[in-house]
């Protein structure tokens, strides 16, 4: 089985990077999170409800929606911050990519670590630009907002194709499909990966991408 892979390419100013990535990842996670499961004695379970919150961007003309889970929001923010700091640092070329990967675990066999099988990957490839004045910044603010609008609409389109999702697990195997560590919400298992193109790598952004795609598809 191949994982579905979506790649978004964006050109943003350094300070817009965090919000650009967060708006897309949170939109995806909102669709890929369920209410918390509560099991009862008979083995059946009740599902909680997912709350949502509007978030206004500071540096982009955009409002997006995320799950009302401070802990999930913190996890995502921490990952994006690390990526953004490296991307904006002096050592990089201002190009890099970050991906949100949903996976399921195959039950572990004797002595082996459980195998992680990705089933959906969302990649945001960023290129940073430098703007000279406030006029340009205003234009960029609106332009990036429009670009992200298109991406949000595309995410909705993909979500409503109702493609493969892991099957609902039995209670004992809940954590092979869902991340049950959050108190208020239950997202499908996910992880965030990122890579920054170094100055020496030159034209290796493409090759890094190929490597990443090869990695995600090689199972």
């Amino acid at each position: 089985m191949n994982a579905r892979s979506q790649i978004f390419e964006l050109t943003v100013e350094g300070r817009q990077a965090d919000e650009a990535v967060a708006s897309l990842f949170h939109t995806v996670l909102f669709h890929r999170s369920l209410g918390k499961f509560t099991y009862n004695d008979e083995g059946s379970y009740s599902v909680g409800t997912v709350g949502y919150t509007d978030v206004d961007c500071d540096f982009i003309d955009l409002t997006y929606v995320c799950c009302s889970s401070p802990s999930l929001e913190q996890t995502i923010r921490r990952e994006i911050n690390c990526f953004s700091e490296q991307l904006r640092g002096n050592e990089g070329t201002g190009m890099g990519q970050i991906s949100l990967e949903f996976f399921q675990k195959k039950p572990s066999r004797w002595l082996f670590q459980p195998e992680c099988i990705p089933w959906e990957v969302w990649t945001v490839r960023l290129e940073l630009i430098t703007l000279n004045n406030e006029g340009e910044r205003q234009v960029c603010r609106e332009k990036v907002g429009e670009m992200l609008t298109d991406k949000v609409l595309y995410i909705a389109e993909v979500m409503n194709r109702h493609d493969y999702l892991p099957k609902m697990p039995i209670q004992s195997e809940l954590e092979t499909v869902f991340d049950a560590s959050y108190r208020d919400i239950q997202p499908y298992l996910f992880k965030v990966n990122y890579s920054i193109s170094g100055p020496s790598s030159g034209s290796t952004v493409g090759s890094t991408m190929k490597k990443l795609i090869r990695e995600t598809l090689s199972f």
Binding site: V50, D56, E157
Partner: protein, 397 residues
């Protein structure tokens, strides 16, 4: 091919469809209130089984007025046979201009059905995802940014619901269509879409074209409502007797002083009241008819009757000639002759001209007449002697 559903499955699917429609209306209307929305995740669900089931595991707060309006439109009938359901979002300016911004619609394509879809799990989950997409998409459509800038001084966002094909001609040239998502069921494919305006210029031809009832989306926002209500009231009754407002940094003590010095009965107070009536009267009959026809469709009928009464009051304040007080204009840079000529001209035409015969006759006054009568009576003997002398002279001749 439409797969045969047993009656229980059909009933469940109809219920899901109904609640999908109701929740969609809530999401759309709430996204256009101009406020940020935040609902909490609820790990432990409470309430009856049915109420939880029809939340699609999404915490959407229900605004009672929207729910009532939605149910009224659905009319308790089987929804799938009556779709599309449309929710129209429009903008109304303070000047009364009106522009439809977008129309969201839930439709059913019976030819595209998925006979394999099992009702409870698949359809239910797909409907949940569709509602999530609706939440996300509603924030990035142009009308969202406009709705966040709305206010009673500039423009308000309104909504209305109707069954039938979406009226896309109201959206102007170059409108766009977006399919938010769809759910395949044995009955067909339910699709939720939006058509939205791209050209945001209000043209005069659009004003008053649509006579159907509008529901203000911030109607249920009690804070805003009272503010508007108070504002209108103040406008209607503004007079010199009102206590003056104190400025932000003004000394409080001064206020009492000014109040003491206020004149007990302000001169020309009638002028201030009457100033309102000529503007309001011409639009009155039409507005009242419209409100009477549609008063049932208002969410809060008491609000409409309130405005009706207010207008009735304004109607009674019709200015008449008797009450009119002429105030001489002191036109800057004009000489005194011109000023009096204008006043004279106005007075001359204010009432019918006097007859030429009475031009030189000074009007008798009550006291003078009594005095004259008294003098006539006192010299009654004199008159008698005159008459007698005349009579005797006639006899003599």
């Amino acid at each position: 091919m439409i797969m045969k559903l047993n009656s229980q499955e059909k009933k469940e699917l109809d219920k899901f469809t109904k609640f999908l429609a109701l929740k969609s209306t809530q999401i759309i209307v709430q996204s256009r209130l101009g406020e940020k929305v935040s609902t909490a995740c609820k790990p432990q669900t409470t309430g009856t089984d049915w109420s939880i089931l029809f939340q699609f595991n999404l915490n959407i707060n229900d605004i009672p007025e929207v729910l009532v309006e939605g149910k009224k439109i659905l009319n308790g009938e089987v929804l799938s046979s009556r779709l599309p359901l449309c929710i129209e979002i429009s903008l109304r300016t303070v000047e009364g201009d009106h522009m439809v911004l977008e129309t969201w619609y839930l439709s059913l394509s019976p030819e595209q059905c998925d006979p394999t879809a099992r009702i409870i799990h698949t359809i239910y989950n797909h409907m949940g995802i569709l509602l999530k997409s609706l939440v996300s998409v509603s924030r990035v459509i142009p009308a969202y940014k406009l709705s966040r800038r709305q206010g009673p001084e500039s423009f308000v966002i309104c909504y209305r619901m109707y069954m039938g094909e979406p009226l896309q001609q109201c959206l102007g040239e170059g409108f766009k269509n977006i399919c938010v998502g769809q759910v395949c069921t044995p009955l067909g494919t339910f699709a939720l879409s939006v058509s939205y305006r791209t050209k945001m210029t209000i043209s005069p031809t659009q004003t008053g074209r649509d006579n159907s009832i509008m529901l203000k989306s911030d109607h249920f926002n009690t804070h805003v409502c009272t503010q508007i209500g108070e504002q209108e009231e103040k406008d209607n009754t503004s007079s010199l007797s009102d206590i003056m407002k104190i400025g932000a940094f003004a000394d409080l003590k001064k206020k009492t002083l000014e109040y003491d010095m206020m004149m007990p009965s302000p001169p020309f107070s009638k002028i201030f009241k009457e100033k309102l009536s000529p503007n309001k009267c011409p639009v009155f009959p039409e507005a009242v008819n419209k409100e009477m026809e549609n008063s049932e469709k208002y969410i809060d009928s008491s609000a409409s009757t309130h405005t009706l009464e207010a207008r009735m009051d304004s109607l009674t304040m019709v200015s008449t000639n008797d009450d009119f007080i002429m105030v001489d204009l002191k036109t800057p840079f004009a000489n005194t002759n011109e000023k009096s000529e204008l006043g004279k001209f106005y007075r001359e035409w204010q009432s019918a001209p006097p007859l030429q015969a009475f031009v030189d006759v000074t009007p008798p006054e009550e006291l003078d007449v009594a005095k004259q009568l008294a003098t006539f009576e006192s010299s009654l003997n004199e008159y008698d002697s005159v008459v007698q002398s005349l009579c005797s002279s006639v006899n003599n001749s």
